[in-house]
Symmetry: C2
Subunit: 419 residues, 2 copies
């Protein structure tokens, strides 16, 4: 999970004697994706988890040796690798903006430079999904949201996507591995294939109800929706938990189905919809009598922005006598050097600005210690980490000023001020 140049830089730095120089690397996005008003930090807990296992196995070292990627002294150094530095950063679930120092890694150059790809991969993907999920949550009018996009993402990324979606407000996922790894609630319905497998829809519904009981969701759009709804109510004696619509004009169909369900006395039966939903279609369905949304493709691909654009930059190093701020100084892509502290300035509980400085500004501090001398704060990983992140996100998003949750393109919800 590491780019070749990280290892060759370690080799060259070991040779030049600079490998042990204490460094600060910072993770930040140069700006939010165009038109987005805020971003959601996600992946932090997964970074810490991955860090626990970040070592070089003998098989990996053999590969590096056989391919002449690095020399013997570097192989030896890698074989002993264990991250022993400090990491601080925004709490998972926190909001971020362009320039927010969402994570800071302080360690020797060699120890810290090796983590670039791993940290960025995790933070970029997870935050892209969480940022999209938060928009869907705000469009959902607090109806139930289920992540169902596993099939539209790399099979392992899908697990991370489910986790990120739940942190940003989703109620659960269809992905069982995500349920197992992170204690998420899992949900399921059935596919058209199940209906088509049977010799009739009647037979398929009977089979599903017989096996699952009434606490199940019947898919009613394989043939004719009206007939399917009638059948679902009749076979469950009006008690089936929900019916699912996956095609057609969801809004008008939902109105018809709700009326039909009510006319048949199935007042408790819910309507769940799926079918290439995104935050805009969810918002457009606000007036329809829908109880829950299953969201796939647009969620796991970040709804137009499949990566968050975080970079990992050296901002300071110490020669033992003091810290030196550093930054690239070519014409384009200038960075801001120095270790940074961040706080959110609030007035009556509403965010006014994000303040960033070389000392902690007044306001709600945004950074917390995640790793100290190689010791990982385990409260941020696994199921507990997800629960904390979800709670933190729910609280943080209430601080945004009115209008910040609009889906239309706009400026960042608050300015970022370097003071």
């Amino acid at each position: 999970m590491t780019d070749r140049y990280e290892l060759t830089m370690v080799q060259a730095a070991l040779r030049s004697g600079k490998a042990d120089r204490r460094c600060v690397f910072e993770v930040f996005a140069r700006q939010l994706p165009a038109g987005r008003r805020y971003g959601v930090v996600a992946g932090t807990g997964r970074v810490l988890s991955a860090l626990q296992e970040f070592t070089f196995t003998s098989a990996e070292l053999d590969f590096l040796a056989n391919q002449n990627v690095v020399d013997e002294p570097t192989l030896k150094w890698l074989s002993d690798y264990r991250f022993s530095g400090d990491i601080s950063g925004y709490r998972e679930g926190e909001l971020y903006f362009g320039g927010s120092p969402v994570m800071s890694v302080e360690a020797s150059f060699a120890e810290a430079v090796l983590l670039e790809t791993l940290i960025l991969s995790i933070m970029n993907y997870d935050s892209a999904v969480a940022s999209a999920a938060a928009r869907m949550k705000s469009a959902s009018a607090d109806r139930k949201l289920i992540e169902m996009g596993s099939r539209r993402a790399h099979e392992v990324a899908a697990v991370a996507a489910a986790r990120a979606a739940v942190i940003a407000g989703f109620d659960g996922t269809s992905n069982l591995e995500a349920g197992r790894d992170y204690g998420l609630e899992t949900f399921g319905t059935s596919a058209h294939a199940f209906t088509l497998l049977h010799d009739s829809e009647e037979e398929a519904f009977k089979a599903q109800l017989d096996s699952m009981g009434n606490q199940t969701t019947l898919l009613v759009d394989t043939y004719d929706v009206k007939m399917a709804v009638e059948r679902a109510v009749r076979l469950s004696e009006g008690k089936v938990r929900a019916v699912r619509l996956d095609s057609g004009d969801l809004s008008s169909t939902a109105v018809e189905v709700r009326k039909q369900l009510d006319d048949l006395g199935a007042h408790e039966t819910k309507i769940t919809v799926t079918s290439d939903l995104d935050e805009y279609t969810i918002a457009a369905l606000a007036v329809a009598p829908i109880d829950s949304y299953g969201v796939g493709t647009s969620l796991v691909t970040g709804s137009g922005f499949p990566t968050a654009g975080f970079v990992y930059k050296l901002v300071a190093h110490s020669d033992g006598e003091g810290w030196h701020d550093v930054a690239k100084r070519s014409k384009a892509k200038t960075n801001r050097g120095g270790k940074k502290f961040a706080a959110r300035q609030l007035e009556s509980g509403i965010a006014k600005a994000e303040l960033i400085s070389d000392h902690l500004p007044e306001g709600r501090p945004l950074q917390t210690q995640l790793v100290s001398g190689g010791q990982i704060d385990t409260r941020f990983i696994g199921s507990e980490g997800v629960k904390r992140a979800k709670e933190h996100h729910a609280a943080a998003i209430t601080e945004l000023p009115s209008g910040a949750l609009r889906l239309s393109k706009g400026d960042p919800a608050i300015p970022v001020e370097f003071i």
Copy 2:
């Protein structure tokens, strides 16, 4: 890596007695992404690899039991699960269009329905990356292309992205795990951090050359490009393999750097560029004196289409006496039932149409057997699979009619005809 509803459908089908019904599920895309002229099939070898390991561990079964996902008979059935069916499909690297039956899974309903999420996750992500990579390859005028996008994709997806990129024409990757898993060539340069770590650029370049020799790439845009190029040539006595540009106007800078290198006698020193490249910027740089491209974000996110849109649909089942074609018949999203055979119709080696039928049409057959009675054809997996897929892709793409490789939006390069 499985959606909850697949397991509950297995349970209901075991109960209804239909679980053993022989079924054909088909993987296809309803259409190409808007404006794309062709797609590239990738992931096939990874599907076969994943299938080798697709079983339910006792820890996984415990989770399913504790969460009451499925009942005891289903748990028992899952604990014995080993795919014993047949899979055929397009060769990896092959081109596809809307409706192409890129993979067909024939097995009992229960065995086949369980693979939906896994197969779609892999095929959707890998094909999205390969389809973007092929466009970059055709824009590159056969200059070297290196995949460098790991940091902009989920950490495990990044390995698959490197693999897919190489299949569709890339020369290598920066991702070491991809190099190790699939025998890909790995490449690396160095980062701005390495230069900034040292007390001067002079010291950094010396350290890199001292450690790596002249077969390395010096990054020349940390401070002043002109001074850095002079320094790179002087310190390597004109022999450094390459210099890298990562910012600014790459086209005009490359012209200046090439002239400077030539004036200094470093005629053999190559110029490599990186910096948010996509197929359009690569095409626009065709006139610049550039030797290789490092491509990241747009490649690993499918250049605007981060998922290929493949679906997995039941198209036929057998009651023991004969096959029955099935398809969803609601108003929207109608599918075409029946097991399908596909061939590419060629005239003088140029593709005219993709023919799809219930028997093998005339032309170049597009499907090959991948799994027979649970036995996986191992020629398609691992390093050998990647090599075969790369060769197959290179041959297949030469069949496209002139104009098909244009980057502009357009209709599919050839029509798909159901005959």
